[in-house]
């Protein structure tokens, strides 16, 4: 029999390949294929999904209990290494200490020979699916084989069955299917695409048949998301087409399978190139605007919280920051303090005075610092009901929010 494989993968909209927690893998020497969807609310799901699919397709003798233990050990080893890095984040360490676990769905498919005949066997846990569409299909709903641990009626939600990266807290019961190997195509899909496939039925087959490469797949995903036919989720697809050639052996005749690690690398390079171009553009703009600061620009500058007077003075005293440094800051973002200092750099003396006044007004509201003791005392002695009787005169200037909404909406 001849086998052709296609595999494509993409992340959620507005996320990177790096963020994608779906994984697939296959091993031709073992005739094994697997797909997994790391549960996004779990701990290091993409490592867990990656370990599951790769260990599964590479294992020769299959002992399920041992397989899970080996995977869990590998996951823990990788996660521990990350947690022990000096720059590990506080939330990573907290979750690790709480013994949070990676969770992932799983579908595994393998071909094996028994008494000169080839069979396939698959098992599935969670909302990732295996579909088998026979070559000469007449009635899709009757002949298309569907395997997952989702119970009928199938409802896709954010709470699938899964394998856990720690202990025995797996959820659900895996489903198994086994049958002689015949001509047709196996489709392994993570949930969003599986939901689309179930909705589209036979139409799905013709739409899939035109995918020649990763770009075709990405185009399809974007279009169907736009048409609201495909959910905005990480999306992975692995198809294994079987064609009878009257030979005893399985022959792999074509493979077009995207490698997520390669996609990550390519995308990171693209980002670097784009950033460099943007940086250049900013430098040019900066050079052009350095000579003359428009009045309009000055008017737009609002006093920003946390500007320390020393910083203001330092920045004013300093003639100019390095242009490249400035470009980088503009491009890669800055801390609020740094932003404030930079904005001040182009302000007039008058504006600086306004900023200082603003700071004076703002100071009493600084969290955790001393409060207006008079008001506090008076408020303390009166219950909330007595607030109306307070003799305290409203402060005339306090009605305007200290920080205009523009400062917030600019961050959206």
């Amino acid at each position: 029999m001849q086998i052709s494989i296609k595999g494509y993968i993409t992340s959620k909209e507005s996320e990177l390949f790096y963020d994608c927690a779906d994984r697939y893998a296959y091993d031709k020497s073992q005739n094994k294929f697997a797909i997994s969807d790391g549960v996004s609310k779990s701990f290091f799901p993409k490592i867990w999904a990656d370990v599951l699919v790769n260990k599964w397709v590479n294992s020769k003798e299959f002992d399920e209990a041992q397989f899970i233990i080996d995977c869990q050990n590998n996951w823990l080893e990788q996660v521990t290494e990350i947690v022990n890095k000096p720059d590990a984040k506080w939330f990573t360490k907290n979750a690790f200490n709480r013994k949070e676990s990676g969770l992932a769905t799983f579908v595994g498919l393998r071909f094996y020979k028994k008494k000169k005949e080839w069979f396939w066997k698959a098992d599935a846990l969670g909302d990732s699916f295996l579909f088998f569409v026979p070559k000469k299909i007449k009635d899709f709903s009757k002949e298309c084989l569907v395997l997952s641990s989702k119970k009928e009626p199938i409802v896709f939600d954010n709470f699938p069955d899964y394998l856990s990266g720690l202990g025995n807290n797996h959820k659900g019961e895996k489903q198994i299917m086994e049958s002689p190997l015949t001509s047709g195509t196996f489709y392994l899909m993570t949930d969003a695409l599986a939901e689309w496939f179930l909705n589209e039925k036979e139409n799905a087959i013709s739409k899939i048949s035109v995918w020649e490469n990763q770009k075709d797949f990405e185009r399809f995903v974007n279009e169907e998301r736009h048409n609201e036919k495909l959910g905005n989720d990480d999306t992975a697809f692995l198809s294994i087409k079987i064609e009878e050639d009257k030979k005893d052996q399985l022959t792999y005749v074509s493979e077009d399978v995207s490698n997520i690690n390669e996609l990550v690398k390519v995308q990171q390079k693209e980002i670097e190139v784009a950033e460099k171009a943007k940086e250049k553009e900013l430098i040019l703009k900066q050079e052009n605007s350095d000579s003359e600061i428009s009045a309009e620009q000055t008017q737009q500058i609002e006093p920003v919280e946390n500007i320390l007077p020393e910083e203001v003075e330092t920045e004013i005293a300093k003639p100019k920051k390095g242009i490249i440094e400035k470009g980088k800051e503009l491009l890669f973002g800055k801390k609020e303090k740094e932003q404030s200092a930079e904005q001040v750099e182009i302000e007039t003396d008058e504006k600086i005075e306004a900023t200082e006044e603003y700071q004076e007004e703002k100071e009493p509201s600084t969290q955790g610092e001393e409060k207006n003791s008079e008001i506090q005392k008076s408020e303390k002695n009166e219950s909330k009901k007595s607030e109306p009787n307070s003799n305290k005169e409203p402060e005339p200037n306090a009605k305007t929010p200290n920080k205009p909404s523009q400062n917030i909406t600019d961050k959206f």
């Binding site: 959620k12 909209e13 507005s14 996320e15 963020d19 996004s40 609310k41 701990f43 290091f44 799901p45 993409k46 996660v79 990350i82 984040k89 506080w90 939330f91 990573t92 907290n94 979750a95 200490n97 709480r98 013994k99 954010n158 202990g167 959910g231 905005n232 989720d233 919280e305 801390k335 007004e361 009493p364 509201s365 969290q367 955790g368 409060k371 008001i375 506090q376 408020e379 303390k380 009166e382 219950s383 909330k384 009901k385 607030e387 305290k392 005169e393 409203p394 402060e395 306090a398 009605k399 929010p401 200290n402 920080k403 909404s405 523009q406 400062n407 917030i408 909406t409 961050k411 959206f412």
Partner: protein, 282 residues
């Protein structure tokens, strides 16, 4: 709109939660666990943001599926409305004000408990000072929502969670302050977005008779509860499950509010109000 307020939070279409925090002087009164109302409020908000970070991170990276504003009223001066902090979630995760060390008991995976060290991020400190300019806070919120929807018309409708211990008061008559707050809240609740109207949920901290999620104003006995009813949104279908999960009885016409909430109810209510961050993520 039957499917209103049901849009999933994602990096492509982040949600927006606005915590309106009463920072008036009376928030300095003792509330629970040896803490004042303002201290307990800060604790609950800090925990909530921490929980949002935990549910929206993949281990080492926090996904920006929500933008959070913490707006204080009272606080810095009698009638101030302050942006305590407004940022995307990852920015909160990267830059807490400070960290506190806690001891926490967690399951050891074998039926027992073990004590672990946990770092608790602090994003808001307690403040209690000044009056209660709630209407001004709502007006400021309205500006934020309009700005948000202008830039992100296809995103989930914003959620406002207002935490207060009293009626609005700005130094004039309480009725005027209440009417102003009611008027602006209605304007907010009437803003249209692709995902329906923004939602205002109100939590009042106090010790009198508790009312929550009522369907009719006539069921309410006191002015405080009646006011909250008026400035709260009807709980949409998409939030009913979250309400049930937090043991609230959400009926068809229920409004999202609690009056005289005790600590447990307060925590449950904030969990309900911020549930978009855990229950509705891709």
């Amino acid at each position: 709109m039957s499917n209103s307020n049901s849009k999933q939070w994602s990096s492509a279409t982040p949600g927006y939660i606005i915590f309106l925090v009463d920072q008036s002087g009376s928030m300095n009164e003792t509330y629970a666990e040896g803490k004042t109302r303002s201290e307990f409020t800060a604790l609950v908000i800090n925990r909530t943001i921490n929980e949002l970070i935990n549910t929206n991170m993949d281990g080492e990276k926090v996904k920006d599926r929500v933008f959070i504003s913490m707006i204080g009223y009272g606080g810095s001066s009698s009638l101030a409305v302050d942006d305590i902090r407004s940022d995307y979630l990852s920015s909160f995760a990267d830059n807490p004000l400070r960290m506190e060390q806690l001891k926490k008991k967690v399951s050891d995976g074998a039926g027992g408990l073990i004590e672990i060290d946990e770092q608790m991020p602090i994003f808001i400190e307690p403040t209690a000072n000044g009056l209660t300019p709630m209407a001004d806070a709502f007006s400021f919120t309205k500006e934020l929502i309009e700005g948000w929807l202008q830039k992100k018309p296809d995103n989930p409708a914003p959620i406002i969670i207002n935490i207060s211990d009293g009626l609005p008061y700005t130094g004039d008559s309480i009725d005027t302050a209440m009417n102003n707050a009611i008027s602006v809240s209605k304007e907010i609740m009437n803003i249209n977005s692709a995902d329906g109207n923004p939602l205002i949920f109100n939590c009042h901290l106090g010790e009198g008779k508790t009312h929550s999620f009522n369907e009719n104003e006539s069921e309410l006995s006191d002015d405080q509860a009646k006011f909250l009813f008026k400035v709260s949104s009807k709980v949409p279908e998409s939030y009913k499950q979250a309400a049930v999960k937090q043991d609230f009885k959400a009926k068809p016409e229920s409004r999202g509010f609690v009056s005289n909430a005790e600590p447990e109810l307060f925590i449950q209510f904030i969990n309900f109000g911020s549930s978009g961050g855990s229950d509705k993520i891709a």
